[in-house]
Subunit: 240 residues, 2 copies
């Protein structure tokens, strides 16, 4: 930068850089659900000829007048009717050739939804839940995005009470443990798991029992705090 250069106004800067307003930005949502002891991901048939027959994550271009999180919630709402889910930004992917339509940089979010609580508009069979373990290839770089989000969830699941977004309101400790096992891909010791959960103070005993189970029914619990749609507040930041 030339020292003698005058300060630019924002307006002149915009004009001088107009050529750069030539990259599109999208968000892609990795929407996880959980059913029958398995993690699932909501995918849609790609509508691009280049990826004909392949499935892809739910995403869309960000509109000029919406911020990133708003765009993610819009996609969720449009595709699932869900409005009040937990959603978190994970990583931004910007390789030059990741999108055949041109330069599209995408911000990946994961979200966690109760797969049974809502009725998806699954009537058009372009939108389906896929078992995580069955997903081999996806359109674009979406498999990498999916894996990145899965890694992030695995890091967070023992730190923050995010899993309850995947479960119905009332659940047993067995169901909770099975969910942890599905996410982490390991088996957990029942006694140690219960001890760990009770230390975290995430759930409350609602004094009800399972019904319709072919064995001794377990107690039912609710999440004590449920991370849901983020508030309009600023991201937490340091007080430095």
């Amino acid at each position: 930068m030339d020292k003698l250069q005058h300060l630019k106004t924002a307006e002149t800067e915009k004009i001088s850089h107009i050529d750069y307003f030539n990259i599109a930005i999208s968000v892609d949502c990795v929407i996880f659900g959980y059913d029958k002891k398995e993690l699932k991901v909501l995918l849609i048939k790609s509508d691009l000829e280049e990826f004909s027959g392949l499935w892809s994550l739910l995403g869309d271009l960000v509109r000029p007048n919406e911020d990133l999180e708003t765009a993610s919630y819009r996609i969720l709402k449009e595709r699932t009717g869900l409005d009040d889910v937990y959603l978190e930004q994970v990583y931004t992917f910007g390789s030059l050739n990741r999108h055949p339509s041109g330069r599209v940089i995408t911000v990946a979010y994961y979200s966690l939804v109760d797969i049974n609580h809502h009725q998806l508009k699954l009537t058009n069979n372009e939108l389906h839940w896929h078992k995580l373990n069955d997903i081999k290839h996806l359109a674009f770089d979406h498999k990498v995005i999916l894996n990145t989000c899965l890694e992030r969830i695995r890091e967070q699941v023992l730190e923050k009470p995010i899993v309850f977004n995947l479960l119905p309101e009332k659940f047993s400790l067995r169901e909770l443990q099975e969910l942890f096992q599905a996410i982490l891909g390991v088996n957990l010791d029942r006694r140690n798991f219960r001890k760990r959960i009770s230390l975290k103070d995430w759930i409350i005993d609602i004094d009800e029992m399972e019904t319709d189970v072919p064995h001794r029914p377990g107690k039912l619990y609710k999440a004590k705090v449920q991370l849901r749609k983020k508030q309009a507040k600023k991201r937490a930041h340091l007080s430095v």
Copy 2:
């Protein structure tokens, strides 16, 4: 999406969405250095009239033909002459009004450099190292970005051998401990710190001693593995 709609080619999609190619994307680098027991951040005087007098992070718009990481390295190289630095993506900021020039979404990276190893082009006094603790306000949302990057470094500093990027090639355990203390903002027990570091197997004893210290000289060490410029390889991902 209409079921009957034909598949689009990438080309027709680009045309139909042409209005969306109307958001610029930038990268901002939070460049940390360390000197005299304090963390520092490299800042530049904002060249926007709206932020006249304020300092800002080093950033630039991403060019249509460079990927995000390439853009970050370009900024580092242009501003510091440094080429071989560790750099990591942290978060993407996309609030509607974060930039007065228009819609600019920015991807934040942190990088760690040896503040004394290189000579910055600090001759124009628009570019300076600032003590972290003295930074109160910055242009744009750069204070939030800075804090987010600092949080990330604090999370990672005990997990990954990133700190050595901030130190000269040879360093004593005291210097290393002081650096950890500056990053984490706490005091550490000397014996426990040394034990912990030696367990991590990050450094090697080079059989040299400090000189010119006004007390008993300590041994000097080198980093065993140095995280530097990322390779062209793909991001690590799960083998699922």
